[in-house]
Amino acid sequence: MSEALAIETVELRKRFDATEALRGLNLRVPRGSIFGFLGRNGAGKTTAIKLLLGMARPTAGQARVLGLSADEPTASVTIRQRTGFVDENKALYDYMTVDEIIRFTAAFYPGWRRDLEKRYLQSFALPLHQRINTLSLGMRSKLSVLLALSRGAELLVLDEPTSGLDPATSEEVLQAIVTHVSAESMTVFFSSHHLADVDQIADHIAIIDAGRAVIAGALDDLRGRYRRVQLVFTGIAPDITFHTPGVVRVRRQGRVMTALSSAGSDALIAEAMRFGPVSAEVLPVTLKELFLESVALEV
């Protein structure tokens, strides 16, 4: 397992009774990256995060976080000492005030950043003496982000950080994360099914579906490699089986055939020209298309 990786999982599996939530998940999250962990609801994102933070134990496979084994209890405590976490539900202790939960959390982190605490208290306009059960979801999200960022962590794990937020609050939270990461040397691993969020801040992604990573890599690299080739024929598009490496999906609709390639378009077009299309057009693939094609493949 590489020291250059903040997170690495190898064939990670998790079974809950009859349900196999993870089915051999392989992830490589480079240190210093902003890693978007994409997937539909129920794809296994939250389960993977729980395994990384020692909240659940794997059925099989390995997970290492910051070079430490995630399923070893003592190492897991060290991992959490060096990790900030925002839970999907932004659930905090309802019976505490904002000030109380900040003091409570700070007590566990010797490297607690008072400067960041003050900055985010001010920029998020959090009411110090208000009880958490009276805060709106947006306010609780901001407080969760404050508690995660101020830990002075090397790794930030965010599970659906903008889930349930209005666009303005969502933008505010994302901007806080991006600003923070640009000023600190840290890795961000965040799960989402909001593609716009991932597109906005991630430099690496993995798309998970049915418990396995179906696409992973640097976002720019994926954008460079993936191409959609649209072929138009005079009659009904022929039922072609492409032999070109990297063809991940072919769709036919009337006279139009669309092929998605993970290895550029040149070889695919060369092979397709033998079937006599009247036109061939190469289109870039958006993250949304990549996501939809990837998860559709695995259904």
Partner: protein, 258 residues
């Protein structure tokens, strides 16, 4: 800070239990006078009217004998009945909850902190047991303090001796609820089951052959009341049961997926 968190999560139950126990304890003191006025009426009754041959009659006879003195009255009314019930119920209430229940959806936030589950469990149990100790002792101290107001005395030594018995056996029901709370995500089933177990054990003590070995005989400190000897074997067995239950709860919690 985990101590503070555990206190915040249990203080409602603890303070509620303490308030109720103080009220009941206060009532016990002033009930003594009323009882003293009634006892001569019972003594003057026709002996044939009180059948003491069965278990109920024997219990009535024993109660009447015990309540002739203030010390006996306190033991019979307070330690043998009221405080026993209160410590069992509030012991179960204080033991229930923990990581799965009171934190509610914030369980993941707790688990994201750099502390082991064993430490979470230990802190929670220590705070709960400290509260249970206070419930077992403080209301009885009120009796010792207020006894002179009705012309009686009650020794602090008796309060402490009975308090130890109450606390050690009450810890069994506390730890049973704590163990059940590592399996049930709701707060009420561990309390209910612990109370049902207590009720069944209490009823079994009416069986003469096994009654004298019962936990409640240890809990009410009968041997201390009658012969000034603490029930050491019962206390050690109870403490052992508590330790085993809490250990099992910690193992359960350590292996649980969230």
């Amino acid at each position: 800070m985990l101590w503070h968190k555990a206190w915040l999560e249990t203080r409602g139950r603890f303070l509620g239990g303490l308030a109720l126990s103080l009220i009941v304890g206060f009532g016990v003191i002033y009930d003594f006078r009323a009882t003293q006025r009634l006892l001569p009426l019972v003594r003057n009754m026709d002996p044939a009217a009180l059948d003491t041959s069965g278990p109920l009659g024997a219990a009535i006879k024993e109660g009447l004998a015990a309540q002739q003195s203030f010390r006996g009255f306190v033991w019979w009314q307070w330690y043998r009945q009221n405080l026993t019930y209160l410590v069992v119920v509030f012991g179960a209430l204080l033991g229930a909850g923990g990581l799965l229940v009171k934190s509610g959806g914030a369980t993941l936030f707790t688990l994201s902190l750099p502390v082991s589950r064993a430490r979470l469990m230990t802190t929670r149990a220590a705070v709960g047991l400290a509260e249970l100790l206070a419930l077992a002792v403080v209301p009885s101290l009120l009796i010792a303090v207020l006894a002179p107001s009705i012309g009686q005395t009650y020794s602090v030594g008796d309060v402490l001796a009975h308090g130890v018995c109450m606390f050690v056996v009450g810890s069994v029901f506390f730890s049973l609820a704590a163990l059940l709370s590592t399996d049930y995500v709701d707060g009420w089933r561990p309390v209910l089951i612990a109370c049902i177990v207590a009720a069944v054990l209490g009823m079994l003590e009416y069986i003469p052959a096994i009654g004298r070995f019962g936990l409640f005989h240890v809990m009410n400190g009968e041997s201390y009341y009658r012969s000034a000897r603490l029930p050491w074997i019962g206390l050690i067995v109870s403490a052992g049961i508590t330790a085993a239950l809490l250990r099992t709860a910690a193992v359960n919690l350590a292996h649980r997926d969230f």
